[in-house]
Symmetry: none
Subunit: 188 residues, 2 copies
């Protein structure tokens, strides 16, 4: 996802910021209503462009969704990277923030929608989501290994806990609360 993943391969250079802006609106709308209940009309309205204009940028609803998820993941990953690199905070706080940025942001209807689209088209969204996922695991592992000299197993356990939490919990607050407890327990 680091390279823009051009859906409609456009030879013109000018449409750079436009796509990103549209993807932001799309992500907000998808996050609010879920994939199924979001229409292209609504995304277009949110992005304040016409529906045909939206199809000019993204050839289908699914493509748009993939791109939106991709951009969101990229952004989250960048945030995670920045947070973990900040030397001013204790490891525990950096980890909490990192997980919050990664998994906490879209707790709710979107999580299941992403899963559904993955099922529908495992190869395409699979790549989109698996690469950042592996990178996240790497970052967490590095942060823990560097700082406190613990094993890789610790990082993996933490990630598993976070995933489990996301399935149990229905709000970001609840997620964060229980995550803090878990991290304190694991980091002890």
């Amino acid at each position: 996802m680091s390279s823009p993943e051009v859906d409609h391969p456009s030879p013109w250079p000018a449409d750079t910021g436009r796509r990103a802006t549209v993807l932001d609106s799309a992500m907000l709308t998808f996050a609010r209503f879920g994939y199924r209940k979001t229409s292209m009309e609504e995304v277009a309205r949110a992005a304040r462009i016409s529906r045909p204009g939206l199809y000019f940028l993204f050839s289908s609803k699914e493509t748009l969704f993939r791109a939106a998820v991709g951009q969101a993941l990229d952004r989250d990953l960048a945030a995670v990277e920045a947070v973990l690199a900040d030397p001013g905070k204790p490891l525990r706080d950096r980890l909490v923030e990192a997980f919050d940025n990664w998994a906490g942001r879209y707790v709710g209807p979107l999580t299941s929608d992403v899963a559904i689209v993955i099922d529908d088209n495992p190869d395409l969204l699979g790549e989109v989501i698996e690469t950042p996922r592996r990178r996240f695991e790497e970052l967490i592992t590095d942060a823990i290994a560097t700082e406190s000299d613990r094993e890789v197993a610790l990082a993996q356990t933490m990630i598993s806990t976070s995933i489990g939490l996301k399935h149990q919990v229905s709000s970001r607050e609840a997620y964060l609360e229980r995550l803090k407890v878990a991290i304190d327990l694991l980091l002890r």
Copy 2:
């Protein structure tokens, strides 16, 4: 809405609690997705009955929506009535609680907004919403007139402020906070 407003006039006495339960589920679903994006299938699933079973209780989606909003409003109005009648609290606190029950209950992103569902579908609800609305105004006016001997204009201003606030604010907390300030100013 005090009388159950029987859609499918049922001569059998046994279906009393069932309707109310189904209406609760319906209200939750409508509040979450909005009228348009809620299907009868979803309401039925939420209420854990079959879709034909749902049509047996309510003859159309519109009727169901009206009944659900009606029940919610009845409930809120009863809470308002109880709060205002409580002699143990100063007028100011009773008013704050009353407004919170009436207008504040469904403000916010998490538990979606009944008031907005209502605003989005004014045509579907004429009578259903106007009567409780007038009754609420009456209750507030009475509370103020009885206790502090102020004019009707004061009550109306308070209600207008509350409505305006609801449109400006995005969380129940923010609504409450600003409402308190407004009531203190008005009641001075």
